[in-house]
Amino acid sequence: MSTALRIWTAAKQVLSYIALLAAAAVFLFPFYWLSISAFKTRDQLFQIPPQFIPHPAVLENFVNVFRETTLARAFLNSCIIAGGYVSLAVFLCSLGGYAFAKYRCAPGREKLFAFVLGTMMIPTAVTMIPVFVVLARLDLVNTYWAMILPGAASAFGIFWMRQYIDANVPDDLLAAARIDGCGEFGIFWKVVLPVCKPALAALSILLLIGSWNNLMWAFVVLRTPDMYSMPLVIYLLQGEFRTPYGMVMAGGLLATLPLVVAFVVFQRAFIQGMTAGALKF
């Protein structure tokens, strides 16, 4: 009896493992294909039957993509855009979230917060055109600001930080800092922010992913090759007649790796960040 049961349990485990491994393999396959395609020549890319391990593996795609496109510059641009956007948005949202959470006596606080919540429901599709017009009037098209400013006032970010500060920053801590003679901004900077590291990390990651991967807005506002972001360089490599797929794959691999590596290291914060929206429900 107990032997049969143990065999059944073991068999179930083995079956679960096989099912999970198969599923994981299917989901990881496009990454595998991307990685090996980056090391193939044009002939190898379209060879039938396909090569599952490139033989020979060539590095020419990586050399060419740096030589013939502005990918190196685009990497720098993407870093500046993502870094600027995430820092600005996280700073504004945590400062605002702190104010909404802790200055309970301020007249109009509730109404202003309800207003912020209401703005979360506005789809960006509705504001997209006027935002472009505003950027054009401010003469900011084809600058980093065009990628950084429009999304920086994130209503969700303020909401997220307010919830966290409300629940995790005790009033006694703020009172103690005030007695020690700390200024109001000093309290926020030196006392509140260090306590909020998990929430800051999750929000940063959510914003970072959106910014790093954004093709559409880059397509609209970035005009000259020296301003292109990584997704835009990769997109524009696609030609009408002949796309240099090897270069696309090499560039694509380089655009994908930073986030994937960061994800493997900070898995928990990534998942928390990506699913942060579910909390408001």
């Binding site: 104010a99 006596c105 506005i122 006032a153 990506m274």
Partner: protein
Amino acid sequence: MRTANRNALTNRLWESRHFYLFISPFFVLFAVFGLYPLLYSLFLSFTKYDGLTPPISVGLENFVTLFQDEDFYTSLWNTLVIGAYHIPPMFALAFLFANILNSTKLRGLGLFRMAIFVPCITPMVVIAIVFSLLFSTQNGLLNWMWRGATGLLPWGPFAPIKWIESENWSKISVSIVLVWRWTGYNMVLMLAGLQGIPKDYYEAATIDGASRWQQMYSITMPLMRPTFVFCTIMSLIGTTYMFEEVFVMTLGGPGTSSTNFGVFLFNAAFTDFRFGYASSAAYVVAVLVFVLSLVVLRWRRPVT
């Protein structure tokens, strides 16, 4: 007396000056890139505007044109069809995986979760190009496998499937990419939902002699409703406004066969520069999506 009141309010405002100071950068930026655009785009929806010459008021003309625009209806229809193709299998897979992650004690589940989740953090433009290689009619991997598999049949091999080159398959191809990309996201949300159900419910049900399926039907499903509703609304919004998945892989084609609303809107605005017309379309669909979300939300009744 009134002066005293006013002084009291002034005092309160002054004492809360840091509050206003701290929220003002947000509100300044929001006014410029959120509130003003929202109102301006409502104004634009009643005008003809190409971004260069000043907007000309045209009354309701944009809306009349919109409701007669075949491409607009096609884009809404395609949005619905792509939603219908990808949401059910995606939810089924996500729910299955979430249950496995929740119930089994196997080593290495963290790695599995990572493998399923990682697609949704990757740059869509790269992924769309990888998939268009895999989908390629002449020398794509999928058609090579299709040929190999159907070659085993006596009446095979079959003709290659024109994944992204035919009107029948283009929506299916987009849906496959969407399932691949968003299953992990939904899985994590559903896992969180499952973990939020108190264990005693199941223990009590087991004592009462309820089978696993009965427990699934009468405990898990009702209590998972809020999660399902959230996932549904997110998918609805995502499918309506998605852009890169379609634009990079099929350009909305062949013809307009895979043009969802996001691509329709982008083309109206930034290919044709019909800013007024695009604004009216954006408003109409925003209202439509909002109403649809409310309808779905009604399903989220409290469970007793």
